[in-house]
Point group: none
Chain length 67, copies 4
DNA sequence: GTGGTCTAGACCACT
DNA sequence: GTGGTCTAGACCACC
């Protein structure tokens, strides 16, 4: 498995890191180990952030901002 | 939940990855029904893919083929 | 039957025209189910369109969207 | 309406003319006044040929020959 | 601005 | 050879 932490450029706000992760997954054809994106809870644990942070990342994604 | 740490098959076609992402956004209520998605051109720029790739993802989505 | 002599709306998108043609072939039993169609590249050359146009027609056909 | 007889190059065998007609219809975005190709009977009357001639044209079409 | 459509190239894996 | 996928351009009509 790929070590995402070292593959990805350091980003300050964690929710940006999450967005970055998802974008990278798509660009590198690495997206989606199973049938769905990881649950918010899992991503939260993964990034060691609160679920609200993950939620914010999803909001940005669906809003199409951070363009 | 999915174990990200172990080896799992990645989705090869990018348009499928994009479909998955959007579906996940919907499932997580990050994308309410009726709410318009970001423009194809924006998403294409965002994901660093061609517009036709995004377009195809949308086509499949609206066709309701994959789930 | 249709009166060809009078002004009637033409099908604009070529891929729809191709779909129609193939469906007609099927309806007229000129194309039995299970029988493989000519190659995309051949049809493209034949109709003087790009392969992607033929490809799209096939996609729609197999998706069963139009009828 | 377009005068096909003058638009199309003169072709000897009539079934080839019929094939040519259909190809031209697609290329010129003129295909399909209604929902289906004209019935064999109609085409036969149109071209002043026997239905078997029309039938042969369809066969050629679906076979993808005359490439 | 947007999506819909089309073209013309390319690379890949399959057989 | 084939289809599947992707890119990079273009033109159009709609708003």
């Amino acid at each position: 498995m790929i070590n995402w932490a070292q593959e990805l450029p350091a980003i300050k706000p964690k929710y940006l890191a999450i967005i970055q992760l998802i974008k990278s997954l798509i660009q590198n054809n690495q997206l989606l180990p199973g049938q769905r994106l990881p649950a918010e809870r899992s991503l939260a644990r993964w990034f060691n952030v609160d679920r609200s942070t993950v939620s914010r990342a999803f909001d940005e994604l669906s809003a199409g901002s951070t363009l």
